[in-house]
Assembly symmetry: C2
Homo-oligomer: 416 residues x 2
Amino acid sequence: MAKFSPPRGMRDFYPEDMKLRNHIFDAWRLASTASGFEQYDACVVESLELLQRKAGEEIVNQIYAFEDKSGRQLALRPEMPPTLARMIVARQGALQFPVKWFTIAQCFRYERMTRGRKREHYQWNLDIIDENSVSAEAEIIYTAINALRLMNIPDNAYRVRISNRTLLSELLSSLGIAQEFHPAIFMALDKKGKLPREEIEKLMLAENLDAEACSAAFDLMDITSLEDAAEIAGDDSPAVASLRKLFELLNDYGVAEQAVFDISVIRGLAYYTGIVFEAFDTKGEFRAIFGGGRYDGLLSAIGGKPASAVGMGFGDVVIGEIIEELKIEATSQNNLIAIGYMTDDERTMATRLASKLRAEGKSVTLQTRPSRAKAFFSFASARAAKAVYIGPDDRNSGKAFIKDLNTREEEMITLT
Amino acid sequence: MAKFSPPRGMRDFYPEDMKLRNHIFDAWRLASTASGFEQYDACVVESLELLQRKAGEEIVNQIYAFEDKSGRQLALRPEMPPTLARMIVARQGALQFPVKWFTIAQCFRYERMTRGRKREHYQWNLDIIDENSVSAEAEIIYTAINALRLMNIPDNAYRVRISNRTLLSELLSSLGIAQEFHPAIFMALDKKGKLPREEIEKLMLAENLDAEACSAAFDLMDITSLEDAAEIAGDDSPAVASLRKLFELLNDYGVAEQAVFDISVIRGLAYYTGIVFEAFDTKGEFRAIFGGGRYDGLLSAIGGKPASAVGMGFGDVVIGEIIEELKIEATSQNNLIAIGYMTDDERTMATRLASKLRAEGKSVTLQTRPSRAKAFFSFASARAAKAVYIGPDDRNSGKAFIKDLNTREEEMITLT
């Protein structure tokens, strides 16, 4: 059936697939509005130049780029932040800050196909623009956790690992490693768990770090608590203070149990400037559920006035796999009423009943043609919660029974 | 600000734009599920070959096509039916027919930019596959009308114009015009209202129709009632019978007032095979609100087993213009509660209150930083329905007031 498959890496959603997708999207939307985030959206087609200006090299190589019939260089966006930044900068003088926005956006990356990797996915984005305090990070992490709760994911099934790039920078400085080496060290250490130690050390040596500094940087990854980090960084470290404040706020939100300090969280992208976070399933079997952090340079990078920002991205693929692994039922109330009829003579009565029930806000599937009772109830049992079947006797009496397909209980209704 | 605009013809949706879009999308979804349609979706990227195999020439020239890094010929879909057909055919042996599906899909066409024309739009599609009787047309037309009602569009603001291509064929045959000329005449007559009569006649003459036949075909467009058409086509005409049955069913549905016979409705696309319909605003100021019809050849055209089908497409651009013209309020219940606090010392209390209210299902926007009462209430009045402001006195007493920003009424709440 390959000729009827979607293009490689792209997904079809049949009605049974939409059940899971709606379970995820509904939780995202509900958590967003519960926290007062406002929805925005933009077309999946963006200008290639905007996307290249901001993205890291790895992403640029994965962009689906093309030319339109007027020779414009366009692309399917690989991520939302450049578009968000463009929209904010276009109205930077008119918007009331801090801005709290969310979107559910399809994003495309051309990459090799492995488990859980598609070439397109949907990503929920939360962003708070122009808020310097860690209350922005706290609000975003809480809202993402609230979405997981709304999906019925148990609190102990995942952990949000939190660190601060500035802290790692302070620690490297305290080891005597000059600031200019820090970005390269971040990028190298971010590969921990993905590459063997020797490979990572090679990456650092290639950046002209000496072997001793390289080894010392690696040892920092063994720090397991914020207090241990504070001992090295010093008690007046602003990076430590911001992390302490964040954990305190997360306690106020009632989500302290799910949040842990983890110095190895760095995030690959070059644009993060402060606190960074990533959520993983507790067993560590899946890729990150969501991730984000503070990126204070994005607006100015594309030509806007500088403004601080915190953002988060949460894709639909990994969480979908976890929901299936945990055997969580996609919540969807089945209130559908099926209406069938024996002959063409009952069709008018059936149609009027369907219209009446729909006008009352009920969901009704009306058979498009007459059918035998057995065929109708087999159809109805497969998809509806209740069923009404109208035969000639019912038409004459003006009464029929609505049957609950689970309890088998019947209730009489009038048809006229 | 051009450099911060989206690519030409593409749309940004700021939060105030999402209000209108959600008003439209919510009505589409609600009408679909009320009528028992099941949701499906597919990636906006399709194989170019599939799209070309089915579409008319005009559409093929407007496709955004590109090549991926493996040399695959891909495209942004201009419409949903080829994708729907592919998905149905892939599971033709497993699905239970008739299938009733809906989707809200973004579609792209590269065309010249005029009023109400964008290069992308969202289109609601309803399709019923494998139902020969006009109950499929009736169910779809009713469901589209129900969506307009759910958007609060008055019944008298629009009309659904309905005809049958088979009827026009029967009438042309009765004038002695051979079947082979009918498709070209359909395409030419479909331009009525868009091109002057002479231009349309030229189109027909170019297809080797003689001037007399050409004029007779044109005169058919002056038929104004189904009964007049029946007099020419004959009382045993199957096309007339199917239209009569359809209007009878629409009466049963309670939407007869909005449905009218209009022989000039032909629909441009080549693939329609029977009843066709288009909805327009009553004043005739806008392009079509929705349109569709029976297309019995699509599945077999892409290699599936033959099956009858009826479909409808309803875009978001024209209805958005009509909603604005009619000054219809986009319904969105504003239940947002804003929470602010005077100093950092009240932040914990404010955060806990926000978490508690959110856990109860309420939407709460929590200030990310301390603010003065005046600044907070100015922020809150602009977006929330209720507001709580916590100062040091409230923190000490453990009580605060929640204020209704419309009625100015206050209610005391406990903070501990």
